[in-house]
Assembly symmetry: D2
């Protein structure tokens, strides 16, 4: 049940609604107070009780509208909150007019490489740095990242460039550590239905980017996001990164229609990762442009100073020059769909791609 | 084997190469004469013979370069012909700077409806009319189209609007009839590997649009196109229209990465059909914009005057107002990627979306 | 609508029902007369008319039960005909207690090879010979079969062994020719939705085996079978041969659950082709045993005298010794699920695998 | 690298090999000592070093054969250990002639229900009890199991029936608790690539059943098993439970070919779960019979006393009568492929299905 208060409702009127529900053993969740207060009841109520409560609430002062959830996802639903959630990420943000461009290597490999790359990405207009410190690897014998050392390197690059950082967390036990360093936590493809991890990132006060599983439906992605939001963390971004199909020319098949489907069903911002979907760097620019045209709120791109020598995923990483050229193209397409790309340091550094 | 002649090669020199090959029992194919003559040998030669011929040809006057085919597709390969094939479709065309916008209903339902819709599409800037006269239907008990009557209705709409027409052909026995009326023949998804139909459309002198099978890899699509071109019909467009996956929010999953993959491997122009992929009209505009941003040469869109009353596929058909709005958006994204949308009658009718 | 007559209904009573329907412009189809006459009306009637007719028919002498079709497939539905269709194929048959074992090479390559193989297969207890004379090939440059020459070779092998023959037909234009030679026609995977071919094989008086498309749903397979049966050819076998998935260890993924799903929904007999699904001969025996345990009515197996030298599909072909060993295993599993394997020439040749 | 010692090698000779490797900084793993000692080196050695070591080891007394790993999975590979791993599970076992039949409800719902069901399953010849205490649920609002209370109920049922118990563990934090109660731990489909969970179950001394992910390739399943075995827990069973495809008649598509593929590539025993794959109880028996015919070492079946009233997965649960009937059929097919079904209490209870 969704209870929308009038825009000019008094605090005491909101409190009255909450008190009445609590008396009946129901704990409402407050989703937003701006521009008006909206409360959600996610408990499965039996039909009789739901009807009785709705009748009662209609008479409460300050209550504007009451409706039911129509989907199995509730707090993340567009029907619950109409406007797209706007998430602050240090000096950057996602969910508004500006596109969030996250760029960086698959794995943080060394301090020197990462920091020099970070500066170049900043100059090109990237709005956030990505990099893996804890890497999920299909084989136990592959390089699994630098761990906390990698997090430190990323944090130093943030100092130097001003760009916020995002990195993956693999285990509930590591959530606190990663949250200490990063501006946003990433839950990866293989962990989309690792429910104990979802609850752990739902309990911290840091934005989370949740990647769609390789063979997860959009409905399952929304329900996994619901796990996080149900724990009280509303700042969730969803990321489409390709699904598994029979086609072998690409590593995975980017489901571009996931963008409008998600925008229709949820108020959470939507990111597209064309690098992992394509698996081949020459395909990435077309797919990135397509994602922006389709309405994505952000992009996650793998960029490496020397893709051929990368520890992992080199085949799909853009070189810095490619990224720079792509940013120019993205700015044009963004403008054609009424979006903007603004680098964090545009004023200081005179970024070429900044709109106005 | 691909034999490229020098740009200033004499006709007699080309004839000399052909004569030599024929003497050895090999029939070369002429793929292009502009800007220079290129000949292809698609026979599987044994290595010894191939080597011997290449050595001999190097000494021929007028021969510039000789190379092997690197892929299992040959005549449709980018390595065979570098520039994109430019196909004339009456007053419209595909493969150049201008995007080809094909629009119309799933099935031609009546003369009045089709002609009135055709006029509206023309005003909105469409460059080609689509409509089904012979409909492939999963069930034998569904409406299968008006047949030749439908073709006549389409031809009259062409008279009235000046727009060329494209329609599907289902059987080798119907190829001649359909080619008598239409400016281009469509081979549908379910017939992508109907090899006798591919050969039949390869034998007529009309452009063909070949749709990717629901279950077909990109490699298989290229090899099916090779069937048509190998019969002498070089004017083939390829159409990505969604593949089958596990996701159920959309009818099929549009494989947007097929656009850059195809552009890399073939010189044939690439069309995207977001209507069949999406299956829901509200998703079509985002996907159409994405297709243009990704580099498609054309779009095929289902538009109906009264989608709710359509005989088939109404759920995915745009209303005319939606189409008109989409055309304005497409013009902007097209311009951002250095393409244009020009209606066939732009000068006469003052089309709003015409570039320049 | 399905109209079941009483077991002792008079011919004149059946004629009365037919006459009444024809008067109303409806052409009923006779599906079976044994043990009782059943008529089907596949026209989409409007609800009012359907109700009126059902009421009227209830009063007709000899009419036992009247029911509606519950699925979009009608004549092939189990609700239309309860017992499995029993199809005679020369001395062999399918749909009863005996399993039909079709064996042979992918393509007929030469008279000597085919005939010597045919004799060996006969001794091993095979009940039908398979072999390709017209081969569908993904590439136009691959070997496409011996054509009519191949059909003649197969027919001679039938003379010599007594085994009936099945072979693929690719085009409506070839149906008559192939039907002149073969005991059953095969419609291949790529042609499952080639509707003009389905209608052409529906018009001949020869059993048809329809293979499931690589990415066709079971519902689509049933509707394609409906195309054939709707033309009057009731002798259709359905063949599961693997669907396309993301797994790469096998050529395709055999959908073993298609067997019980099909047995539930249709009265047509079900064949499994593990060779094409597996793509690797060492996997074929396990999958063949599984198919029989799951309830398949027949198997189609690729066997070659010298698999390494086969023109096509050698990697998945069993050697004769493998086939012989597999037949022994199949006989045991068949017996465990109350089925039998009986060779056509068991009495004459003393087949080891014959059940009693 | 795999180092196989001679069957009559002395302990001191084995120690010599280990000492030499440790001196070079390499920690070999002992995989088996019966019938001969086999050591594995899983470190990625550079080619030069590998060659040098192999040369040196050939001269060592007691060394029989040295070979390289040919696959990316190592310790779980058939090339590392030829015979199937035999795992003891209380009075039952898997990997030998006897099939392991695990049966029980999706979730443990109440003490009374579970215990009465357990007794019935025992009488029918089941060899292990399954039941969920911690349930992974797509939605955060669904029933998530009774937790430790459920584990206690299962342990009591083991007391009463003698049957060992298996149950799922969802989080590294719960591994110790679940291992205190259960005879085997299950890692579910959604957690197949939850690498921190894999390592946690690799550290306990209890057999583990690892279910294939909905979207996982067989190669990825083997590499996930490698994570567990690499931590020292060799007692791993692999479970095929259906993969995601486009077919909608079944919940998932059981990949029956995974059985022979896995048997070829790994020495770990293979279980099939037809209940989750089918999603409909009427399909389960055929699929279970197929699994045994294909060579599975065990089955996991959902059985419920009153499927219509189950908290979860009722649609796919067999009733006890169905299970009893299926066991009779399974015994026959098992015998046809030289396997046996023996209930834990067969002697005491006079199980009908016991072989001999």
């Amino acid at each position: 049940m969704v209870i929308a208060m009038k825009q000019n409702a008094l605090t005491s009127q909101v409190a009255g609604v909450i008190a009445m529900l609590k008396e009946r053993g129901i704990e409402p969740r407050m989703v937003t107070t701006d521009p008006r207060t909206v409360l959600g009841v996610v408990d499965e109520l039996d039909q009789g009780l739901a009807k009785e409560l709705m009748g009662q609430l209609k008479g409460f002062p300050g209550v504007d509208e009451i409706s039911s959830f129509t989907d199995s996802w509730k707090l993340v639903s567009r029907s619950f909150r109409e406007d797209t959630t706007h998430i602050k990420l240090g000096p950057a943000s996602i969910g508004g007019e500006d596109l969030l461009i996250m760029a960086g290597p698959c794995a943080v490999e060394s301090k020197e490489n990462f920091q020099s790359l970070a500066k170049q990405l900043s100059v090109c207009g990237a709005s956030m740095l990505r990099g893996g410190a804890f890497k999920p690897r299909t084989s136990p014998y592959s390089f699994r990242g630098l761990g906390e050392e990698g997090l430190k390197i990323m944090a130093e690059a943030r100092e130097q460039t001003g760009l916020p950082i995002i990195t993956e967390v693999l285990s509930p036990a590591d959530v606190e550590l990663v949250a200490d360093y990063a501006d946003a936590l990433q839950v990866g493809t293989r962990n989309m239905q690792n429910f104990s991890l979802l609850e752990a990132v739902g309990d911290v006060n840091k934005p989370v980017m949740l990647k769609r599983g390789l063979m997860a439906t959009i409905k399952e992605l929304l329900l996994s996001a619901e796990y996080i939001v149900a724990r009280g963390n509303n700042n969730v971004m969803l990321c489409e990164r390709g699904i598994r199909t029979f086609e072998t020319q690409t590593r995975n098949t980017l489901d571009i229609s996931a963008v409008p489907v998600l925008k229709k069903h949820t108020h959470l911002p939507v990111v597209v990762d064309p690098s992992h979907a394509a698996g081949k760097r020459e395909l990435v620019p077309s797919m990135a442009l397509a994602a922006v045209a389709a309405g994505a709120d952000g992009l996650m791109l793998e960029v490496h100073q020397n893709p051929e020598a990368a520890f992992s995923d080199g085949r799909q990483s853009l070189a810095v020059e490619d990224f720079s050229r792509l940013m120019a193209g993205l700015a044009k397409v963004a403008s054609a769909v009424d979006r903007r790309i603004v680098g964090v340091n545009d004023e200081a550094q005179g970024n070429l791609f900044a709109a106005g």
